[in-house]
Amino acid sequence: MTSKASSTRFARFRNLEFILGALLTGGICLAVLFSGVLFPGGVDKIDLMARLTPPFVNWAHPLGTDPLGRDVLARVVAGGKISLLVGLTSVAGAVVLGVVMGLVSGYYRGFWDMLVMRFADVQLALPFILLAITFIAIVGGGLTNTIILLIVSQWVQYARLVRGSVLSLREREFIQSARAIGVRDYKILFQHLLPNLIGPVIVLMTLNVANNILLESSLTFLGLGVDPLIPSWGGMLADGRTYLQNAWWVSVFPGLAILLTVLGLNLLGDWLRDSLDPTGRTSR
């Protein structure tokens, strides 16, 4: 009885998690997509007369203005473009690279497999931020380099995940029989193996979009990421820090935007993980 009651409650909670995650993520995506319509004045309009207006006083600037009199709300929404762009493209790149490498190394084993796995060991020993500092010191910052850096540092996760599943799947009857009747290798990899292991990959993708938004914002905050002239959450926080003493809102709202976006994606990822894998095998 009690277990049944608690399991319905659990299910209700799961739904709540999904609704909250979808609302947050969806709302932020919509705001970012329609930022041009919402803020026709543009994000770079400087109004020195209105500089450092506090939030919730002047409804022309609901979240206040920054030291140059630019609207904080408009800039927060515009900054979301960079975050979502970096989050989505870097994950897409890492998935393509990692899944192909994982499929190939798990299916063919041998030298290639050993090389990929040792490479993974090396990457695990180097925290992201150190890799980032070295990488940026050599090739320089900027939007494209940030995305490349994230791809380089993350494809290994997908490769390991996919390789692990391929190792067990390749011994199963449906793969053995596909081989026996002479199905070509690339068909086995992409039509037979891939659909059977994509679930955990999708979960990891959702969580990594969230994670990469965090990483991009910390890189930009440190001055290693995207151009400081482009409005981005990390960049706004770096600017705002100087004014923390007398203008808290310049630092509070961009950070809140990061928190809510990442939280929305994490809620979705968490919900997805439990829905795709009710036994919790992949739970970290």
Binding site: S6, S7, R9, F10, F13, E17, R118, D121, V122, L124, A125, L126, P127, F128, I129, L130, I133, T134, I136, A137, I138, A210, L214, S217, S218, F221, L222, L224, L237, R241, L244, Q245, W248, S251, V252, G255, I258, L259, L260, V262, L263, N266, L267, D270, S283, R284
Partner: protein, 307 residues
């Protein structure tokens, strides 16, 4: 067992080899150190540059330079900083303890919060306490660490004026940096404690302990917690890399005189011997800790060795 030890050790050596080789090779692409050293020295002739390069050993082939770097490393000699010529080992010797103290303090904060919360969540599995803790841990996972640091400064230094906003000076200066990293770590640790406890709570000796009529806190903290200590210590150990990575960023917000600040200043001033040394030392430590954790785990749990 010997086979496992040797294999694991060789893997670690290989990782260190690749990391140091890559870093030393990659850093050569960042520019000519001789030119950077000569900056501000007035008029510099090509002959001067050649002399500087010879002095730094840059005229040798790459592998010879790498050999020098590695042998120097064993003597704790990482060369000299481009800025002022201080021996790099001296800079590291003052920055590393600051970072390690902070790492240690963060770990303590995180353990102090995550163990009681994780146990509470496991005991109340599926109930409101569990769900609340789960949501809180997701919120914690979503915090940018540098923003959390800024918000703590805003609250405790600017509004309440309780704590110093930056620097490392006495106990009070530890509170905010350790709290920042501690909270971030707690977000993952609560889940680990919960999972480990859930497994343990189902075992028979817990039923026996309860049947004996022991108090619930004794059952949980004495019997259950001790039995899931081994996996927990492993998880905490494996987090070491992530912890150091996070601290590097948090150090910058609090102007903490540690390895992160050192590395970041080195990038800004293109001081590559320092950068190379910081990355080498930190990755050596991470590889070392991971190796120790694996060995300790292999000693305790024989199944790991055969994997």
């Amino acid at each position: 067992m010997a086979g496992f030890l040797i294999k694991r050790f060789l893997q670690a050596v290989f990782v260190v080899f690749v990391v140091t080789l890559t870093v030393s090779y990659a850093i050569r692409f960042t520019g000519d150190p001789a030119l950077m050293l000569a900056q501000g020295a007035g008029s510099v002739t090509e002959a001067d540059l050649v002399r500087i390069r010879e002095g730094l050993g840059l005229n040798q082939p790459f592998l010879a330079q790498y050999y020098d770097f590695i042998t120097g490393m064993f003597r704790l000699d990482f060369g000299r900083s481009f800025m002022g010529g201080t021996p790099v080992s001296q800079l590291i010797a003052s920055a590393l303890p600051a970072t390690m103290l902070l790492a240690f303090a963060s770990l303590i904060v995180s353990i102090a919060i995550s163990i009681p919360l994780g146990i509470r969540a496991a005991v109340a599995r599926g109930k409101w306490a569990d769900q609340t803790i789960r949501i809180l841990s997701l919120v914690g996972l979503s915090f940018p660490n540098f923003w959390l640091a800024i918000m703590l400064v805003l609250l405790f230094s600017i509004v309440l004026k309780w704590l110093p906003p930056s620097g490392m000076d006495g106990f009070a200066s530890f509170i905010m940096p350790a709290l920042t990293m501690g909270i971030i770590l707690t977000a993952t640790n609560v889940r680990l404690v919960r999972t480990a406890m859930l497994e343990t709570l189902q075992s028979q000796y817990i039923m026996v302990a309860r049947a004996k009529g022991l108090s619930e806190s004794k059952v949980l903290y004495k019997h259950a917690l001790r039995n899931c200590a081994i996996p927990l210590i492993t998880y905490f150990g494996l987090q070491f890399g992530g912890l150091l990575g996070g601290i590097v960023v948090v150090e910058l917000v609090f102007n903490w005189p540690g390895m992160g600040t050192l590395a970041f200043d080195a990038v800004a001033s293109r001081d590559y011997p320092v950068l190379q040394a910081v990355i080498t030392v930190l990755s050596l430590m991470i590889v070392g800790v991971n190796l120790l954790v694996d060995i300790a785990y292999g000693l305790v749990d024989p199944r790991i060795r055969t994997e």
